[in-house]
Symmetry: C2
Subunit: 141 residues, 2 copies
DNA sequence: GCATAAACGCAAGTAATTTGCAATTACTGG
DNA sequence: CCAGTAATTGCAAATTACTTGCGTTTATGC
């Protein structure tokens, strides 16, 4: 259980968000996860805590504030993970079943090979996808 | 114009796909692009060559065979690029306008910093997303 | 407690992609 | 070249993921 699990309301307050039961439940649930989770999974598990739309809106607010990180693994839907609750890491995604495994960040020599060694749940890693995000010269302030 | 531009039909044949006018047009069009393109862009430009559904189906077949690479830049829709028509590279994506720029692959020390130096169209790069894909132990043959 | 702003849930809407299916086209062997 | 077969196509409809509008409720700061 992460740092934030029992401090969800302080965490919300620190980010200038109302401490509503739904958001607190969502944060606690996210803190208990070990992998990035889909909205569908959140919705199933939090259906008594908050409605799907509120879920999307809360996630959006969290991502905007950097509280949560959004990932796209090519599954046609997003995955979300609490930010800062563990050191920077990458993910290995199974092309067959979609299983996701964390991989500790490291120096990047022989990346695929050494990544595989750090991915005990994976038998092979065949490709990766690396995208950079920022501001292009015409959009920069 | 890429290697494949004037050999679209041989390329299809090599991958055991029927050489239909729509697919040939699509391959030629992809070969002429310098950046990963969206389905919407393909659809606009190829609306007389093939229907949207055929477009999706052709892209799916191409991706399955490794002829085309699919990317997700967090835009809510996929982008596609011909594979093998140029050396391995990454992409910088503008968080404001969505502009995409190729970045030559390189050794990965000081990744963000040196990447920025190789991204003349970008003023800043603030984050990146790196995912590995393969087969987990329970899915591996 | 009370005013105000934030957040909520429901219904409806939209964008991207997929599926079903009958009609057409490409490929293969003769 | 030509028929038979399999692959591919286009259209309509469905599905999935997510978003918007809006009137009601709840949280916050005084």
């Amino acid at each position: 259980m992460s740092l934030y699990a029992d401090r969800a309301d302080e965490f919300l307050q620190a980010h200038k968000l109302s401490r509503t039961p739904g958001r607190i439940a969502l944060l606690k649930f996210l803190a208990a996860q070990r992998r990035p989770v889909s909205v569908e999974y959140l919705r199933r598990n939090l259906k008594n805590e908050l409605d799907q739309v509120s879920l999307y809106r809360a996630l959006e607010a969290f991502v905007e504030r950097g509280m949560v990180v959004q990932f796209d693994f090519g599954h046609g839907h997003a995955h979300y993970e609490l930010a800062h609750d563990r050191p920077h890491h990458h993910h290995a995604v199974c092309e067959s079943c979609g299983t996701i495994e964390d991989i500790p960040a490291q120096d990047r020599r022989d990346l695929l090979k050494s990544t595989l060694q750090k991915s005990p749940g994976f038998a092979q890693l065949t490709r990766h996808s690396l995208e950079f995000y920022g501001l292009c010269v015409s959009c920069a302030p």
